[in-house]
Assembly symmetry: C2
Homo-oligomer: 164 residues x 2
């Protein structure tokens, strides 16, 4: 499920591969497989994977868990100098949290055609934010990031069909 | 800081008055004074007030804390049959969380002219959400909800001016 290391050319790909490791943890825990890491000064300072079912918490998306973990590490709610890598285009909640926590940049992998808030459903990054502008790069390791999601939803459809 | 009980005519006003009590707790804790309560079957099941500074967490808005508290009470991330009362128009993060947690309805008091995601900055409730539609009522006890915010920011301006 991970791209071979020899195919990884850029820092963005290297850190997205780490976010993918988190997504795979979510997959193994039967959660929608999305993962995230937060990087500061070239080092990963926080990790998170989707835990909505485990925590019975609709806000427990990979990005939110990584943001709160990073805030703990830097002991500040302002994540200045930090970049968030996420395997999926952030939803509106996560996009809002990314802007509120003053992240410098986000890098995401696969589009979320239903809920994505960077162009798929709405675009909260293209219109000027009143407080803070976040740099965005997208489509990094896109196919790799999509693969566990496709597999997860395919499996769920089969299980639902068998149940009915 | 609270409207007299004899002025409270509707259930929406009654529950917004409870959300205002939470906003006053935030004010007393030197946080931006926003409060929220969540109501199910006519009973308050969860409360929250803004704790961004105390928790050093940009995601610790009143609405998010109330939502996670309510999820704990009902032991489910789906807040079916629940209404969230909040003294301030939700931001994009909170609007996203409100939709993800499947709240039936939200009722808010004062507009947030900078960050509000129900018409002030963006409007995440007017466009069709791909998964869940939330009923919205706004402007309940508006002046009462605005008052602690005005007082808070006025105080902060004075303190900042004295510091410079």
């Amino acid at each position: 499920m991970l791209p071979p290391l020899e195919d990884i050319k850029t820092d963005d790909e290297r850190f997205m591969r780490e976010a993918l490791k988190e997504a795979i943890k979510a997959f193994q825990a039967k959660e929608v497989p999305v993962g995230a890491v937060i990087v500061k000064d070239g080092q990963i300072i926080a990790r998170g994977y989707n835990q909505v079912e485990l925590l019975k918490d609709a806000t427990a998306h990979a990005e939110i868990l990584a943001i709160t973990a990073a805030e703990n590490v830097v002991e500040n709610w302002r994540l200045k100098g930090c970049t968030l890598y996420c395997t999926l285009e952030p939803c509106a909640m996560c996009a809002g949290a990314i802007q509120l926590s003053r992240l410098d940049a986000i890098v995401w992998g696969a589009p979320d055609i239903r809920l994505g808030a960077n162009g798929s459903w709405v675009d909260l990054f293209s219109q000027k934010h009143p407080i803070h502008t976040v740099e965005v790069r997208s489509g990094v390791l896109r196919e790799w990031c999509q693969a566990p999601l496709k597999q997860f939803f395919q499996k769920r459809r089969v299980e639902n069909a068998e149940r009915n």
